[in-house]
Structure formats: structure tokens, C-alpha cells
């Protein structure tokens, strides 16, 4: 911990007098490096090393570098359906989640009676894993579950919601479970974003006669852009990683890409193809994040 003295010792020709008032922000390079060094070593070992070996593994085979793993991956009958399902789920789910989360955040901001209880209940799924969410909704959608019990009590015939040949209802079940679980994250980020917007802007717009919708569209949403951007990138990257919801609800009937990685690794015991799939997930996540950043930045600069 001798670091703060080090610069003085290195430059003895400077007067040792203390600067007036508050000392400048310490720029102790060596102390700081000492403090962050463990984290850098740790991250290099557990991020850098696996990344490199993952790429090697994906292109690795019995005889040197090959793309055989990727062609095996593509030829697997589940691959394209898992890609299709993942993309369809994201495209349908993200808009629903954002509209719902925004509505929830605006409701909380209107401070209804009991708003802190509402906030607590609406935030609970934030700490629920996708496996648990799948199991929770299994009680609802399974053949002899609560939804069919409800239908039966109205005298209606039960429906096998999760059956292999009933794709729309299977997709709907996974979608509802994911909307239930992951909207909370967007909700909390948007609530935080709303808190940082002064009410004056909206009140000013109200004074000039703007109704609720035009205040939302022209005042609140543009000011929320940074929060929405964060939530959108985070949510999309996390959405690509969803798999246990579908596994818990439908078994293999609704394959998702990460679920396929799991199947290739644990079921089929082929780490090379599993690595290839993992690389695809990473590439798609990165491209999406960069794409969003570019898209949102272009839009924000366009009107000016």
C-alpha cells in the first residue's frame, strides 16, 4: 500500500507541498492495477481461455481443423426448427414484453393505492429461473392441469395444450411463460428510467394541451430511450439463452437453440457440435447487440 507515495519518490524535484484544498483524484496507477489484477487474471482464465478453446473445439475434429461439426449441426433434423422457434419466440415476445412492461411502469408511476405491494409482486419473476417458470406454467397447461380444470368447470372439453401436434397452443404456452418470467426485468429497468425523468416535462406538455398518448409518444418515450435501449439489448441477448422453459413445458417438442446445445452435450455426448452451436448463439447475440446499438443511434440522430 505504498502506492500513493510512489509518484512523489519518482519526481523528487517537485516541491512536496500539498496542493490547496481537495487533493486531485488520485491517479495511483500501481495501486489500482494491484486492485484490479485478481479480477483480470480470473476473467482471462474463465472467459478468455474457454472462448479460445471453444472456438478450437467447434472447428476441431479427429484430424485437424474441419467444418464437419457445423455440417453435422445443420443436418440435424432439430436444428432448423430450433432456430425457427427461437427467432419466432423472440420476434413475438419482445414487443409484448415492452408494451406490457411500459404499461406496468406507467401504472406504478401513477401511484395507485398499494403500489409498493404491486411493485413487489410484479418484480417476483425477476428472481425466477426459466426452468422454474416452465414448471410453474406446467401446472396450468398440463393435460390434467388448472386451465383444463377451469374449462371443465364451465362444461367445456379439455384441450391438450402441450401436445406435439398442437403447435400454436404449444408456442402460446411457452410464450406466456416467458412473458410472465422476463417482463419483470424490463419493468424494473423502465421504472428506474421513469424515476430519472423530471415530471416537469410532461406537465409542461400537458399545459400546452397534449393528451396522454401524445405526451407518452413525444415526451416520455424519447426521454426513456437509454433505458429502453439497455433493456432491449439485455432482453434480446437473454432471450437467445432461453431453453429450460420449453424443456419443462414440452420436453423435446419445442426445441430452442440453447436446448439443442444441451442435448448435443449431455444426450448425444458430442462436445464439438455443442461448441459449434454455442458459437452460433454467441455470434447471433453479438450481431443483435451491435445491430440494435446502430439502429437506435441512427434513429436518435436522424431528426436533428
Amino acid at each position: 500500500m505504498a502506492a500513493p507515495d510512489a509518484p512523489a519518490a519518482a519526481r523528487p524535484q517537485l516541491p512536496p507541498a500539498r496542493p490547496k484544498g481537495r487533493p486531485p483524484r488520485r491517479s495511483g496507477n500501481s495501486a489500482a492495477l494491484l486492485l484490479i489484477a485478481p479480477s483480470i487474471v480470473f476473467m482471462t482464465l474463465l472467459f478468455g481461455w474457454p472462448m479460445v478453446s471453444g472456438i478450437l473445439q467447434a472447428f476441431g475434429g479427429p484430424e485437424g481443423l474441419t467444418t464437419a461439426n457445423f455440417s453435422r449441426m445443420v443436418q440435424d433434423p432439430y436444428f432448423w426448427s430450433s432456430v425457427g422457434n427461437t427467432l419466432l419466440l423472440i420476434v413475438v415476445m419482445i414487443p409484448i414484453q415492452f408494451v406490457l412492461a411500459l404499461a406496468m411502469a406507467l401504472l406504478i408511476r401513477a401511484k395507485p393505492r398499494g403500489s409498493s405491494a404491486y411493485f413487489y409482486i410484479w418484480a417476483i419473476p425477476l428472481a425466477v429461473s426459466d426452468l422454474a417458470a416452465g414448471l410453474v406454467w406446467l401446472t396450468v397447461f398440463t393435460d390434467r392441469g388448472y386451465l383444463n380444470s377451469l374449462l371443465a368447470s364451465f362444461g367445456l372439453d379439455p384441450v391438450s395444450w402441450l401436445a406435439y401436434d398442437n403447435y400454436p397452443s404449444m408456442f402460446g404456452a411457452v410464450l406466456i411463460a416467458e412473458v410472465w418470467r422476463a417482463t419483470s426485468l424490463v419493468f424494473v429497468i423502465v421504472v428506474a428510467g421513469l424515476q430519472s425523468i423530471p415530471k416537469d416535462y410532461e406537465e409542461a406538455a400537458g399545459v400546452f394541451g397534449a393528451n396522454f398518448w401524445s405526451r407518452l409518444w413525444h415526451v416520455t418515450l424519447p426521454l426513456l430511450r437509454p433505458s429502453l435501449q439497455t433493456a432491449l439489448i439485455l432482453r434480446t441477448i437473454l432471450a437467445f439463452q432461453t431453453f429450460a422453459v420449453a424443456l419443462a413445458l414440452t420436453g423435446q417438442n419445442f426445441p430452442l437453440v440453447v436446448g439443442e446445445t444441451y442435448r448435443w452435450y449431455t444426450g448425444l455426448q458430442d462436445p464439438n457440435v455443442a461448441s459449434a452451436l454455442a458459437l452460433v448463439v454467441m455470434a447471433v447475440s453479438m450481431v443483435t447487440a451491435v445491430g440494435y446499438l446502430k439502429l437506435l443511434r441512427d434513429q436518435s440522430e436522424a431528426p436533428r
Binding site: 500500500m1 487533493p23 496507477n29 489500482a32 492495477l33 484490479i36 485478481p38 479480477s39 480470473f42 476473467m43 474463465l46 472467459f47 481461455w49 474457454p50 472462448m51 478453446s53 473445439q57 404499461a103 401504472l107 401513477a110 395507485p112 404491486y118 409482486i121 410484479w122 417476483i124 419473476p125 428472481a127 429461473s129 426452468l131 422454474a132 416452465g134 414448471l135 410453474v136 406446467l138 401446472t139 396450468v140 380444470s149 377451469l150 410472465w180 424494473v188 429497468i189 428506474a192 424515476q195 437509454p226 439497455t230 441477448i237 439463452q241 431453453f243 429450460a244 424443456l247 419443462a248 420436453g251 440453447v258 446445445t261 444441451y262 449431455t266 462436445p271 461448441s275 454455442a278 453479438m286
Partner: protein, 294 residues
């Protein structure tokens, strides 16, 4: 009669009032009712599934066989939960999950708190690239790390141990821990630290005796999040272990061949901590996700 005259006298003045004024009031009341209705609707959507899985997990196996299922808790029983807890690997998985969570929390604090302090207090060279690097690692999907790590751990003999999962979870939690602790330390005024130094504390003493006590609530919040992340993480834990499964990994691996009652009980046990965590964390949630995530 004087009453009548006064009321008559006030009436002409009051009469145009209600006709103009009551409509916004009624609209306001209607809006309040609509607001409550919307809130209750969303609360039903969020809370009803949790109620239903609790109901299913607290029903006897026999009453789960009935159709239609009852929506009210009329035959409370711990049979389903007991059977679940006694099935192979569950108790061990529970112990492993708690161990992994606690060790992950401790390790990520040991590595993360000094780094967070450095980010908050020093303007060192490479600070911005370092922060960017942290944000980048947070965006990496877990799958990308898990599969290669499994191979590496197989070679080094770490495979299928609590430590293997702890290392993976710490790697996942560390960026968040560093960014959150940095923002916590930014909230501790530098002046108190400098005052401690003037009164003769060493930098380490000043940190431990003055800065840490002020930062503890924020750091505790960050720790709870680390634990929740570790408790919920299922893919990496399933890939890195075979016998030393964590609870979610155990539930996932026996999903296909297990009866419905087992799955309901497992789901309920996995959801239960969320109710407690979020209750204690609800004040910190917006600070945490709002300020540090960017």
C-alpha cells in the same frame, strides 16, 4: 328560516359550480378505478401462477390425480413435498446449491470488491477499456463458456465438483459485482475517507473501518443478486457436473422420467427463494438496474 335564506343565498353561487366542476372529478374517480382494475389484472397474471404451483405442491398425490383439480386449498398435505425431498439427489442437490451460492458470493466479493473500489476511486490508465471489457463479458452467453470449461475441467480434474460450478458462477457474477460495488463506493463521500487518513488511519484501515461500513448495505444487495443468479443458473451447472448436481440441474436432468407431482414440488422449491429475495431487495431493485446496467 334563517337557514333557508342562507342556503338560498349560497345556492345560486354554488349551482353553476358542480355542473362545471364535477365532470373532471368523476373522470378522476373513474381513472382511479380503471387504474386499480389494471393493477389488479396484472397482479393476477403475476401472482396466480405462483399460487397455483404452491397449491399443487401442497396437495397430496391422490388429490393431484383428481380431475378437475380444486382451486382452493381444501386438502393441505406435505406428502408431495416430502416425497420430492426424499427422492435421489434432491437433498444433496439442495446442499450443493446452497454451497455453490455461498462460495460464489464470497469469491466474487473477494475478487470484485477491490476492483470495484479501484474503478470508483482511481483514474488509472486503462479504466475505460476495463469497464468496456466488463460490459462485454456480461453479454456473453453462458453456453459459450460452459461447454469448453467442461473440457478444461475434465483435463484438470475439477469436473463434477462444487468448485467447478463456483468458478463458472463467479465468472458470470463478477462483472456485475464489480460494476455494482463501483457505484456503491462512488456513493461514499471521499471526504470521510480522507478525514480518516488525516486522523492516522492507513489506507487499508480507512477502507475497512470507514468506507466498508458505509458501503455494506449496497454490497449486501449485490451479494443477494449473486446468490440468486447462482441459485437459478441451470445450463452451466448441468454441463459441468454429473453427480454433484445443484438443485436446478438435478431437477432438469430427471425432468423427462419424473412424475408430475415431482415436477410441481421441484418448481415450487425453486420459486420459493424468489419470494424472499425480492421482498428484501425491492428497495434496491430500481437503483441497481437503473444506474449500473449501462
Amino acid at each position: 328560516m334563517s337557514h333557508a335564506t342562507t342556503s338560498q343565498a349560497t345556492e345560486p353561487a354554488a349551482r353553476p359550480g358542480p355542473e362545471v366542476d364535477r365532470r373532471p372529478l368523476a373522470r378522476r374517480r373513474r381513472n382511479r378505478i380503471l387504474l386499480q382494475a389494471a393493477c389488479i389484472l396484472i397482479t393476477l397474471f403475476m401472482a396466480l401462477p405462483i399460487y397455483l404451483i404452491a397449491l399443487a405442491a401442497m396437495s397430496s398425490r391422490q388429490s393431484l390425480q383428481k380431475f378437475p383439480l380444486s382451486f382452493i386449498p381444501d386438502n393441505f398435505s406435505t406428502e408431495t413435498m416430502q416425497t420430492f425431498l426424499q427422492s435421489t439427489g434432491i437433498l444433496g442437490g439442495l446442499i450443493n446449491s446452497v454451497q455453490v451460492g455461498v462460495f460464489t458470493l464470497v469469491l466474487s466479493l473477494i475478487v470484485g470488491v477491490p476492483a470495484g473500489y479501484a474503478v470508483a476511486r482511481f483514474a488509472f490508465r486503462g479504466r475505460d477499456p476495463y469497464q468496456l471489457f466488463l460490459l462485454f463479458t456480461r453479454a456473453l452467453p453462458i453456453v459459450v463458456l460452459s461447454v469448453p470449461l467442461a473440457q478444461l475441467f475434465l483435463q484438470t480434474g475439477l469436473y463434477d465438483s462444487v468448485l467447478a460450478v463456483v468458478l463458472l458462477h463467479t465468472a458470470l457474477a463478477l462483472p456485475t459485482t464489480i460494476l455494482i460495488t463501483a457505484s456503491v463506493f462512488l456513493g461514499v463521500p471521499r471526504d470521510v475517507e480522507e478525514a480518516a487518513r488525516i486522523f492516522g488511519c492507513s489506507p487499508l484501515q480507512a477502507f475497512l473501518k470507514v468506507v466498508m461500513p458505509m458501503a455494506v448495505p449496497g454490497i449486501a444487495a449485490a451479494s443477494i443478486f449473486t446468490f440468486v443468479m447462482s441459485w437459478n443458473e441451470v445450463l452451466g451447472a448441468s454441463i459441468l457436473t454429473l453427480n454433484q448436481r445443484t438443485l436446478p440441474a438435478q431437477v432438469l436432468s430427471s425432468l423427462a422420467e419424473s412424475p408430475l407431482a415431482y415436477r410441481f414440488a421441484g418448481g415450487f422449491l425453486l420459486v420459493l427463494p424468489a419470494l424472499v429475495f425480492i421482498f428484501f431487495m425491492r428497495r434496491y431493485l430500481t437503483n441497481m438496474w437503473g444506474s449500473t446496467i449501462r
